[in-house]
């Protein structure tokens, strides 16, 4: 969901088709990727996604036509869309507006809430959700669907990983050092230290709060973390800081990344500078593999992402786990995210934090 920052009134021409295509291609067919209710979802409410899931017309809809509209998803050739189909998709975009009023990140909801949204959707997706549930991945911390969801999910997962470590202070110090090691690349990339230090400050402050100098001080709770990250100024600063770390890593590893730097709309190669300037540094631009890999490498952290797509599932691991960074084995406690076309959330197991003594 690209954030609309443009003052459309100042442009006499219709917006270039590029933008419309971006939004269409990000529109998953079987789900509204954003927080549809920002946390607590009453189960009797039909999923909002019914608007963009035309194969299930809402009850009472006076649709008398005999031919059911076809399913439009990420595999649909955009050039074959009819005007009616485009109109229906555009109506669905109205929900994107809602996204801007949802919390930036929310306290966890049971995975079942996500499953309910897919109740009448693809059987492959349901099978994957059931598999996750079976393996104990039963909680989802949702991020707002505003194009910054990867970076916000990353932040929460990164801080929860420190919180849930048996030794939070040690984990915090390691994270703090890793961030410091990423700074020289930022300066090499030409970013003004005065500017990026200001963006970085809220993240460093949160990391440091797990290793307080005063040993009596209490470390943040999950609730306190979520509250901090719901504050737009702090949350947006952290998003920008992570975007700059990502950009600096890509800019300093041109040979590694250049073959993969493509425009997400035209699929044509972009120069490293254009890619970073257009797809990494601006807020609201979604992260793809290159950005995720760069951030994982820059902060020396493993990330694994459960892809909730419609691909056929074989035996064994039913989910496609896509892994980034070096440390992605279970014992390395990689950050675990859930991906649905166009959207990232944090995926978690509901376990008691090990650093809290049993009562």
């Amino acid at each position: 969901m690209t954030r609309d920052l443009t003052d459309t009134t100042s442009h006499p021409d219709p917006p270039p088709p590029k933008k419309a295509r971006t939004e269409l291609s990000e529109m998953p067919a079987d789900s509204v990727p954003s927080d549809s209710t920002g946390g607590v979802v009453p189960h009797d409410v039909p999923p909002e996604s019914s608007e963009v899931r035309p194969e299930v017309p809402p009850a009472g809809n006076a649709e008398t036509s005999g031919t059911a509209p076809r399913v439009i998803d990420e595999n649909t050739d955009m050039t074959t869309l009819t005007d009616q189909e485009i109109m229906r998709l555009m109506e669905g975009m109205g929900h994107a507006q809602d996204a801007m009023t949802k919390p930036l990140i929310s306290t966890p909801v049971p995975l079942k809430v996500i499953r309910d949204e897919y109740e009448r959707g693809s059987p492959q997706v349901l099978k994957k959700l059931d598999w996750l549930q079976e393996k104990g991945w039963d909680q989802v911390w949702r991020a707002r669907g505003d194009g910054d969801c990867f970076y916000r999910s990353f932040t929460l997962a990164y801080l929860l990983r420190i919180l849930h470590d048996p030794e939070p202070a040690l984990a915090a110090n390691l994270a703090f050092d890793a961030i410091q090691r990423a700074l020289p690349a930022m300066q090499q990339a030409g970013f003004d230290p005065d500017l990026y230090e200001e963006f970085l400050a809220p993240l460093l402050e949160l990391v440091r709060s797990f290793a307080p100098e005063n040993e009596e001080a209490e470390i943040p709770t999950e609730w306190a973390l979520v509250q901090s990250l719901q504050d737009p100024e702090r949350s947006n600063c952290i998003v920008v800081a992570l975007r700059l770390i990502t950009s600096a890593y890509i800019r300093s590893h041109v040979d590694l990344f250049s073959p993969f730097l493509l425009s997400p709309t035209t699929f044509l190669p972009l120069t490293t500078d254009d890619f970073c300037r257009q797809e990494v540094e601006p807020c609201g631009k979604e992260a793809d593999h290159a950005q995720i890999m760069a951030l994982a490498e820059a902060l020396e952290i493993g990330i694994r992402i459960a892809y909730l797509d419609r691909s056929e599932v074989g035996s064994g691991d039913v989910i496609n786990w896509v892994e980034f960074g070096k440390a992605t084995a279970e014992e390395d406690k990689p950050l675990t995210l859930l991906y649905r076309p166009g959207h990232y959330d944090v995926l978690a197991k509901d376990v008691l934090p090990t650093n809290i003594p049993d009562v």
Partner: protein
């Protein structure tokens, strides 16, 4: 949020004032740090050379997470600037804005936009047509505008009595073409606006039949 925004804008204004090499100036309007006027000289070796360009700057509530709003106060003849409103079509003022960009770096980008127009993504379609169809005539018009509106010195120009450029020259049209229709009795401003819209310039006049012009003039 506004505290951080205020701190950042004040710092940007201070830093820009300290920097004597960039030739970019940023001034407050009525002591309001969120409504500013930026200014820079027209880049050398362009039709804008010698001109001085002022830009209206509004700092939005969510700055720096949202782009600054900028438009030219000084009239500019350029494919990516509206010749009527001064509105600017530039990616970093829209979806390519990033919070690491500053007022100064954005004004410098405007300066380079004057050097390198992007006619394929125009703000002013008529100017873009002019730019694409007859570069020499476009450059002449842009220069006339720089002299008429941006105080560019009119040296090396034939002195024109009374003013720097005629209304036909400011529209990038030849006096002969305008006269051909005003001689028929059409009002001069109407003739100029129609010929401008039809891009009645240079070789392009061969593609536009007189009847097309007349049809427009009778509308």
């Amino acid at each position: 949020m506004s505290d951080a925004r205020l701190r950042r804008v004040q710092k940007e204004i201070r830093d820009c004032a300290k920097d004597k090499t960039s030739n970019i100036s940023i001034e407050m309007i009525d002591e309001n740090p969120f409504h500013l006027i930026g200014a820079f000289p027209g880049p050398p070796d362009t039709p804008y050379e010698g001109g001085y360009y002022e830009v209206d700057i509004v700092i939005p509530e969510a700055y720096p997470f949202q782009p600054v709003k900028m438009k030219f106060i000084t009239k500019v003849y350029h494919p990516n600037v509206s010749s009527a409103s001064g509105a600017i079509c530039l990616d970093i003022l829209k979806d390519a804005w990033s919070p690491v960009l500053t007022l100064k770096s954005t004004l410098i980008s405007l300066q380079s936009l004057l050097c390198e127009p992007v006619p394929n993504d125009p703000q002013d379609a008529e100017v873009a047509k002019h730019y694409l169809s007859d570069r020499a005539s476009f450059n002449a018009t842009a220069k006339h505008w720089a002299q008429a509106y941006a105080q560019a010195p009119a040296h090396k120009q034939k002195p024109v009595a009374g003013k720097v450029a005629t209304d036909a020259e400011l529209a990038g049209l030849s006096e002969a073409h305008v006269a051909a229709f005003t001689d028929m009795g059409f009002p001069r401003d109407k003739v100029i606006s129609v010929l401008k819209k039809l891009n009645y310039r240079g070789n392009n006049t061969n593609n536009i039949h007189e009847s097309t012009v007349l049809e427009e003039l009778f509308k």
